[in-house]
């Protein structure tokens, strides 16, 4: 199965951006832990032991506290980042839905356009292609039917006149040819 087409390196950018946020958070968290602990262990064996024992007692709560604060910030940043990234898929998906609604209602413009950084552009292209193909079919049908209308009018006129049987037969033949063309277009579509 093919992977769905995204903008070039979308996944890589997502990966690197998230990693950078977490790296920054880790650096800040680490710095925060050291800022909360006493910088010097003290002078003399007793002071050092006392400082280290104090650190040992409070280490978990200090590390957990600083990381809890950092996590809130990091998660907030990650949420914001992924909101933007998810929007580059959700936005085009929304537009595809709107466009399909328009096509269903007969607006076969095939004019779906995405932003430069949007994803699912291949789906947009496919939908545009579908709209264009159906527009061509409808326009061909319209041309044939307009020609048919002319032939019907001309047949009606011929019927009012005496001795126009050959012309009438020719018109009927032409109408059959047009109908065959109409059938050919309609047979392309399986319903």
């Amino acid at each position: 199965m093919e992977a769905f087409s995204t903008r070039r390196r979308f996944g890589l950018y997502l990966f690197v951006s998230t990693l950078i946020i977490v790296l920054l958070g880790a650096a800040l968290g680490g710095a925060g832990v050291f800022a909360l602990l006493p910088a010097n262990l003290g002078e003399g064996y007793g002071a050092v032991l006392s400082t280290v024992q104090g650190m040992e007692r409070t280490l978990l709560e200090r590390v957990a506290g600083i990381y809890a604060v950092m996590s809130v910030l990091i998660i907030g940043a990650v949420m914001l980042l992924h909101l933007f990234y998810s929007h580059r898929i959700a936005g085009p998906a929304y537009r595809l839905g709107r466009e399909s609604e328009a096509i269903g209602q007969g607006r076969l413009t095939g004019g779906i356009r995405f932003r430069q950084k949007d994803n699912l552009t291949d789906m947009g292209d496919s939908l545009n292609q579908a709209a264009t193909r159906y527009r061509v079919r409808v326009e061909t049908l319209k041309d044939h039917l307009s020609l048919m209308e002319q032939k019907v009018d001309s047949a009606a006129t011929l019927m009012q006149q005496e001795g126009k049987a050959p012309a009438l037969e020719q018109t009927a033949d032409e109408m059959k040819t047009i109908l065959r063309n109409v059938s050919a277009v309609l047979s392309e579509v399986r319903t």
Partner: protein, 277 residues
């Protein structure tokens, strides 16, 4: 919502919520892992330091920095792997339904409006699939109507060709069976538009004839058996010529003709007559 004006970022809430949640969980796991790892490694280092015979360290940085670096390197490596897995899993989850939808669009482009667009229940983009399926259904309805019109037109042209318009123009009589087929059962079937179209085009008078009794003939059993067949002629009339011969006008005229045939039958009440549609 135009391209330039798309300012709402939380546009498909469920999808985006699941997208974001995946990374929030990954980050939370990383934060918890870092705290645990750092606390364990730093605690161990402090314990070792307390029982160390020589104290040659003066600052906290000197004491705990190696543990902090190790803990962070390990947790970040773990996070990197977790993040890579989360992105890969996300791509896999999005790739399946999008590939399937793309195939469906390609199928519709090639003219297949029969097969529906549907995803498995747990897949993403259900709303997009439902929009595409609605589009397929609406296009299909339009083409079905076009095909029906083509059939009616085709029948009319064949009738025009077959019926010998010249006969009518020469004042001769043309006998037509407006139902266009044999039913083998009592009652009238819906009329085809050919008779009405001819009558409207030529202005020829119509003599409705009701026929019954033929439905009792079963071949070959009744080949040599006498069967009563009844013909009842109705009052001749001409259709009112409309300004323009539209589909509706042909349908109305067909109804008039079928009604007059039904009335022409002496036992008309026995028969059902269905409106041409």
């Amino acid at each position: 919502m135009g391209i330039a004006g798309r300012k709402i970022y939380f546009i498909k809430k469920d999808f985006q919520f699941r997208f974001i949640l995946r990374f929030v969980i990954t980050t939370t796991v990383w934060a918890a892992a870092t705290v645990s790892l750092f606390t364990i490694m730093a605690g161990k280092r402090l314990e070792e330091f307390l029982y160390s015979p020589h104290i040659n360290i003066k600052t906290t940085s000197e004491l705990l920095m190696p543990s902090a670096i190790h803990a962070h390197i390990i947790s970040l490596l773990f996070f990197t792997a977790l993040l890579a897995y989360a992105i890969r899993a996300l791509w896999k989850k999005l790739g399946g339904p999008l590939y399937s939808l793309k195939k469906d669009i390609t199928r519709m482009t090639s003219g297949d409006l029969v097969s529906g667009v549907a995803l498995r229940g747990d897949e993403e983009f259900q709303d997009l699939a439902s929009d595409l399926d609605r589009m397929r259904g609406e296009l299909r309805d339009r083409f079905v109507r076009l095909k029906e019109r083509e059939d009616a037109l085709s029948a009319a042209v064949s009738t025009l060709d077959r019926a010998g318009l010249t006969e009518l123009r020469r004042g001769l009589v043309l006998g037509m069976f407006p139902e266009g087929t044999r039913t083998g059962r009592p009652g009238l079937s819906p009329g085809e538009p050919g008779t009405a179209l001819l009558a409207l085009r030529t202005g020829a008078a119509i003599v409705p004839v009701g026929i019954w009794g033929t439905e009792g003939i079963k071949l070959p059993a009744n080949l040599f058996k006498r069967t009563n067949v009844h013909l009842q002629f109705g009052k001749p009339y001409r259709l009112q010529k409309p300004q323009r011969i539209t589909k509706q006008a042909v349908m109305d005229a067909t109804d008039t003709i079928m009604r007059s045939v039904a009335v022409a039958r002496t036992t008309a009440s026995r028969f059902t007559w269905r409106k041409w549609s």
